[in-house]
Symmetry: C2
Subunit: 262 residues, 2 copies
DNA sequence: GCACCCGAGTTGTATAGCCAACCTCGGTGC
DNA sequence: GCACCGAGGTTGGCTATACAACTCGGGTGC
């Protein structure tokens, strides 16, 4: 947008997310995606945007910081911001949840629980889930499909209080995060580690690939808003079905390279 | 820190990076890494930190936003921040540059240019590097080692003005980004796509693996501070040598899942 | 003993203003 | 034609303030 002459552009953009700066950010995202400034084009100055949206410069800067973190625009002292790309940005739920990701692509996601077991936590799991020495966990092994095609095997390890909720979900439920959310279990932060793994017997059986076939592996540890560990999962994807993308920049980044564990 | 009673803790922490909030952030990072608040412990309130460091609450919030983006602390309305992890955070250069990453781990990085060619850009490269229809590029194929062991094959495609600088670097130079930086070529933003690829003849020869062996692939597009494309690279890692880690949260994230290209 | 409510503490959002650092571009001088 | 300089425009950084929204624990009332 940023074309009209009135200052109520934000109100006109609809009551999106509550915060003002989020609505401004969403509007700018749309404008960029629509190619309103072109690729490599320049954004209006902060002051101009502030005047247009009828908000303070601080609010505009908050909105622009979000766009910058997503790799949509550059940002350097002395020059107007430059459009880097028009990449559509996915919401957090599309990241943590295979289901909402698939749906946002127009694909038909599916899932089927293969096995649930309750057992003592391994040392690794105790550390990740911050459990005591005699802590127990619930492991859920689940095959995930895209339009009927098996695409990923998910091994999620939950602390008991979450696992017991998960165990009550029907085995062929498409989504697990949605029913959990309804019961007040909210995923807020996640750490991901991406590398490569060889298919074991379960993977081969559920994905229909050979034993020891190479798979793209994503290990994930999720916490709720209070920082309490909710889940510790290992997902293995069939090659050629998904890729992970990350943006980072000089001014703060979330991506790191790591030496693989032995 | 946050233990003394004086307000000049920042000055005492040494003249690190110029900006105040960066120094505060660095100091808090250290304190967290030292386990000063424990894992799952609570940080002091913003006001307390502001008083301690002798800065305004706004500056403290800037510092804390950086920690939060790196997944070190949570952040929700109504409660003090909670320490999520003590993950060491790498600088941007350790991400874009294999060399500084390896050095920060105490490993001995190496590199050897295998081949340099100048050729017309493919359609994909023209789009990524924003080149005209008859644009040309310089391709550099390079093997990278860790303590002598071949670990990664790097295929970097540069626009001519960068490629000509790269071509002047000795074939066995350890780092390419450092000499480039000295000549004013600064990497500021990068988009990464991570998936899996099969080794081709070059990979097999340089890495000593079988043809079609599975490799972890990272495709990268880097731009300079003005948003001008600098590089468009495809790196292939031997399995078990590196993993990529990412943090994301409800409040803005850089990671996305993508459907693999056909 | 239990549910409820209220209030203190804390972070989120928004505003306003100031100065420094920096980039760009046009004009000047040679 | 070329190098240099400077003015204006723009973002980065920092401060101060105010209020809203939320968490959590303790006290009250039943």
């Amino acid at each position: 947008m940023v074309t009209g002459s009135e200052a109520d552009a934000v109100a006109g953009a609809g009551a999106g997310a509550g915060a003002l700066y989020r609505r401004v950010a969403a509007d700018l995202r749309e404008a960029i995606a629509a190619g309103e400034y072109g690729s490599g084009g320049r954004l209006p100055a902060e002051q101009a945007l502030a005047a247009h949206y009828g908000v303070s410069r601080g609010t505009i800067r908050q909105a622009l910081a979000a766009l910058r973190a997503n790799g949509l625009v550059t940002s350097r002292r002395g020059t107007r911001r430059v459009v880097l790309g028009t990449t559509r940005v996915q919401s957090f739920s599309e990241l943590v949840s295979f289901t909402s990701w698939a749906r946002s692509l127009g694909e038909e996601p599916g899932g089927r629980v293969d096995r649930i077991e309750r057992r003592p936590a391994t040392a690794y799991e105790r550390e990740q889930l911050r459990l005591p020495a005699d802590g127990e966990v619930i492991l859920v092994l689940r095959a995930r499909t895209l339009s009927g095609q098996p695409v990923m095997v998910e091994r999620s390890v939950y602390p008991l209080w979450v696992g017991e909720l998960v165990a009550r979900i029907p085995a062929d439920a498409v989504s697990h995060t949605e029913p959990l959310q309804e019961q007040g279990v909210v995923f807020a932060d996640a750490d991901h580690t991406i590398d490569l793994a060889a298919a074991d017997a379960d993977d081969a059986r559920l994905l229909g690939c050979d034993l020891a076939a190479p798979l793209l592996r994503e290990r994930r540890r999720s916490t709720d808003p209070s920082g309490a560990p909710l889940e510790c999962s290992e997902d293995r994807y069939m090659p050629g079905t998904v890729a992970f993308t990350v943006h980072n920049s000089l001014a703060g980044s979330a991506l790191t390279r790591r030496q693989a564990a032995p």
